[in-house]
């Protein structure tokens, strides 16, 4: 049967190809470049945003500035900004 494989070789090679990654490259580039074009010439506002938010929250609750997480997910249609601030629980406040 081995001689038959000669005819099959090319087909099989093609079938084993992983799905093209070029499409993913294009999608990722379109999203990141459109974001970078918008923010061109502007300073990154996230560090300042985080700082100001912590100041506002700290007016009401004693928080640990190290326990603030800012996560940004850039998307094509919309982006999400998630700010995670750990508030001290009743036990910690009791001390």
């Amino acid at each position: 049967m081995s001689w038959l494989n000669f005819f099959r070789a090319q087909k099989r090679e093609e079938a084993q190809q992983p799905p093209g990654t070029a499409a993913a490259a294009k999608d990722r580039l379109q999203v990141i470049i459109s974001h970078e074009r918008v923010s061109r010439g502007r300073d990154d506002f996230l560090p300042k945003l985080q700082q100001e938010l912590v100041q506002v929250v700290a007016r009401y609750v004693a928080i640990d500035p190290g326990k603030v997480q800012v996560n940004l997910e850039r998307g094509g249609d919309f982006s999400t900004l998630a700010i995670d601030i750990e508030l001290p629980g009743p036990k910690a406040q009791a001390h």
């Binding site: 090319q10 093209g20 070029a22 499409a23 294009k26 580039l29 990141i32 470049i33 970078e36």
Partner: protein, 274 residues
Amino acid sequence: MAQVIVVTSGKGGVGKTTSSAAIATGLAQRGKKTVVIDFDVGLRNLDLIMGVERRVVFDIVNVIQGEAKLQQALVKDKRVDGLAILPASQTRDKDALTREGVATIIEELSKDFDYILCDSPAGIEKGALLALYFADQAIVVTNPEVSSVRDSDRILGVLQSKSKRAEEKKEPVKQHLLLTRYDPARVERGEMLKLDDVLEILAIPLLGVIPESESVLKASNSGNPVIMDSDSTAGQAYSDAVGRFLGDDRPHRFLEAPKKPGLFGRLFGGGRAA
């Protein structure tokens, strides 16, 4: 007045120096008096790619600091008439390049040359900013690869905000895309960004597509700009690009992979010939 053209990319290793050497040589072959300046102070390489490394005496920093006359620092090409190279300094640091110094050099070269090509270093630091500052036109060298495309977009932004034309609110720098290391076979397999994708993302006019080619390494090994290898696909693609730059109407070639041999070819054609 000479036209000042920057060859730039943001990212390193995409083919700026190869393209600068090829295009400068091509312009001179077409009878245009051309000088190509290496702005990569500390990491000079254009001299090697142009094959003139053994004839370099003075460099751009010597000229700026008044230690040599511009005419003394220019290395004239022995193969093509009207082609000269102004090498970068190999030893000094980038602070030796000043905007005033570069302005004086470009002004002086403008009297004798039709085209002044500025081979930019990678990055967006001082050397790269100076290389593009005086540009009338920019050739943005890009590989079909995510980091190169992103950096090209970044450098387009810099051209639009930090060039002399931008600062003086003149007509913007004319931008050209040169897509290099293009491998049509990989594009057809969906493994590589295709030309249309890159054009859609960067949205600037296309000057040329240079196919991935073994002749580029051979050319740099021997110090002959690849455009002189007129048998190679890369050399022909650079000649086309130079022609288009000068206004010729030349269709784009080498965008499709050579056809695979059929059954007959595989049986009797020796399979994968180079």
